[in-house]
Symmetry: C2
Subunit: 355 residues, 2 copies
DNA sequence: CGCTAGCACTCGGATAGTGCGAGTGCTAAG
DNA sequence: CTTAGCACTCGCACTATCCGAGTGCTAGCG
């Protein structure tokens, strides 16, 4: 058997895949002929399809059904066949405009990115907030709430905010708290955890104490909080567009719905991909169970890193059934990641992570 | 026809409902007899069931099917029939312990409440963060991020935090920002929006200016932000336990799933109930389309207010199909709302909202 | 040697008929 | 008022059947 690629085969594979992506029904030889007016007969197309099947790019579910792409088929399509047209200028403008409108509210960026991704890709989107590789102290605030209860607001260098309450041995006036905060803000300026722990250590051993009891309590809380935050790096994955995804015909039976919900909620199946995406530049496409096993076998993921290199980075992307409009999805993910990177660049003033 | 309630009828209604809640299958007369050993024959039970049907408490879907409760039936059950045993001491302890462990991280309370509710009620939970009726300024922080870009962290009296970035005409050193923040913190202490707007107004007209340009810019941002936050009072509804709910047999077809997802996402159907819940003390049970129309016809909601009266309040509860384990759900909602109220009481120092 | 017309063959899915079992509603008697 | 008995009603599962969509193969053609 001549298991080689040639132009005609490529064309047929491309058409089969595009047709399947569009209609979600197995593609018959006759249909390709009618719809695209190929210059050969359906029998020839069938022969080519059989060859493509030998190559591992197509299958069919039963004898009398049309062809369906395999994961390898999709992979070949994404790598060699598909059109790589970026989003239209109009779409780009629309998206950029939406982001412009929420430019001052950082927490809305994520939400917006998720919504836009989901809507244009008609699938679920996943977005992690921009985070620094290493937690670095930026600012701290102590606010007297009630009696000895104090609210601690901790702002990290990457914009992460954490609020936490704690109770002192005895009540302290707001001035004390403010003074303590000011002292610590100065001493911890831009410090990573290590530095702060060091300081704490030193302070406890050296006798002429420069910090008072309150300061120490707070420092202790801070290091704990920073550790926690660092442990859950990208731990939280926001997702949106469940509804859009459910409109895809593959979710006709509830079992699939449950499956995908579990996946999104647990972040399992997605988690293992994160380091890979963080390490690489550009859009990553994972088709079916290419990297993780079972859980993801029927799903594809299109992910990209975004952010400012060496400052803050996050991940955004789309998840959906392997039958996914790859060209459009990839363009969208790419574009939104550049927009987000640009906006972060404006704030952090570095080069954005994606060229 | 003697359409009256009597003890036997009540018992039968109760058993039918409990049985249906448990098995989700129509309840037959014979079954009640066998399972609960009633002292009458199945024919009598049938007669009683027919009477209960006349009263509007039961229906059946077709002639040869067992009985199923109507919304009115559930209502009667909740009001008069069901056992009102609180959660067991063990369960209470477990829950309280879980909350104790996250006592210092306010943002985790909501998440925990949602998770516990969902898990014990085996349905979706909804929780809104505790919010004040009226936005009141608590604290503000200005942090230089990069060049002229400044991060504004605004803390309201109810613990709401908002971060927002803005750009100045020209860069200012952190000291300027800190001084400005200190000034404003002092002047705006505990002020509601109105006060701040007044101040802003006055400052602009009176000639011997006490505040500088930076202060005014920030004040302006603050009022805008506070307005926005106030407009979306309880706008955000966290929900959890979708998966638990999907395990309920009523979600065997995907249409239902989509329906409920839309409802949760849009907050439609839930929104109209909020004022009602905020206005009343205690657990509110809304069965089927009792208050809103169509969208909610097949769902019930068990909600309660929580918080500290006149300080901060929020809502938490459970949403699920009308066939819901009301006694357990109600107890859980009630208990968690008291726990949350107690915890908030510890912070805000008032009487908790629920007796 | 590649292409194609023709045809047998294979399945899936829709449709209809059937029987069964679960429950009810009614009636008539205790 | 209760209940035994029974006719009646449906939903559901099962089977048989048919139809159409597609394929794979073969033989013949250029």
């Amino acid at each position: 058997m001549a298991v080689d690629m040639n132009e005609r085969r490529q064309l047929i594979l491309k058409l089969v895949i595009q047709e399947f992506i569009e209609t979600s029904t197995p593609v018959a030889s006759e249909l390709l002929l009618r719809k695209y007016g190929l210059a050969v007969s359906s029998a020839t197309i069938r022969n080519e399809m059989a060859a493509l099947e030998d190559l591992g790019y197509l299958t069919h579910w039963h004898t009398s059904a049309g062809r369906v792409p395999t994961d390898a088929g999709y992979r070949y399509y994404v790598e060699n066949l598909m059109d790589r047209t970026p989003l239209s200028a109009t779409e780009q403008r629309t998206i950029r405009h939406q982001f412009y409108q929420v430019r001052s509210e950082l927490d809305q960026w994520i939400q917006l990115a998720g919504a836009v991704l989901a809507r244009t890709a008609q699938n679920a989107s996943v977005v992690t907030p921009p985070r620094a590789y290493q937690a670095r102290f930026k600012h701290l605030e102590l606010i007297a709430i009630h009696e000895a209860t104090v609210l601690l607001v901790l702002v990290l260098h990457d914009g992460t905010i954490r609020q936490q309450s704690f109770t002192l041995e005895s009540a302290r006036p707001q001035e004390d708290l403010s003074r303590s905060a000011a002292r610590l803000n100065e001493r911890c300026h831009d410090a990573p955890i290590g530095k702060i722990e060091e300081m704490l250590q030193q302070e406890r051993t050296v006798t002429p104490a420069q910090l008072d009891e309150l300061d120490l309590v707070v420092l202790d809380l801070i290091t704990k909080a920073m550790h926690q935050l660092e442990d859950q790096v990208n731990g939280q994955i926001y997702s949106d567009g469940l509804l859009e995804m459910l409109n895809q015909p593959e979710f006709a039976q509830v079992a699939r719905v449950r499956q995908v919900l579990e996946m999104l909620q647990s972040g399992k199946g997605l988690g293992p991909l994160i380091p890979r995406v963080l390490a690489n530049n550009g859009v990553q496409v994972i088709i079916g169970g290419e990297h993780s096993r079972d859980e993801m076998r029927e799903y594809s993921v299109v992910l990209s890193r975004y952010g400012v290199a060496d400052e803050v980075v996050g991940i955004l992307g789309v998840i959906g059934p392997t039958r996914m409009a790859y060209p459009r999805t990839i363009s969208t993910v790419r574009y939104i990641s550049t927009v987000m990177s640009d906006m972060l660049g404006d704030i952090y003033g570095g080069e954005s992570s994606r060229a």
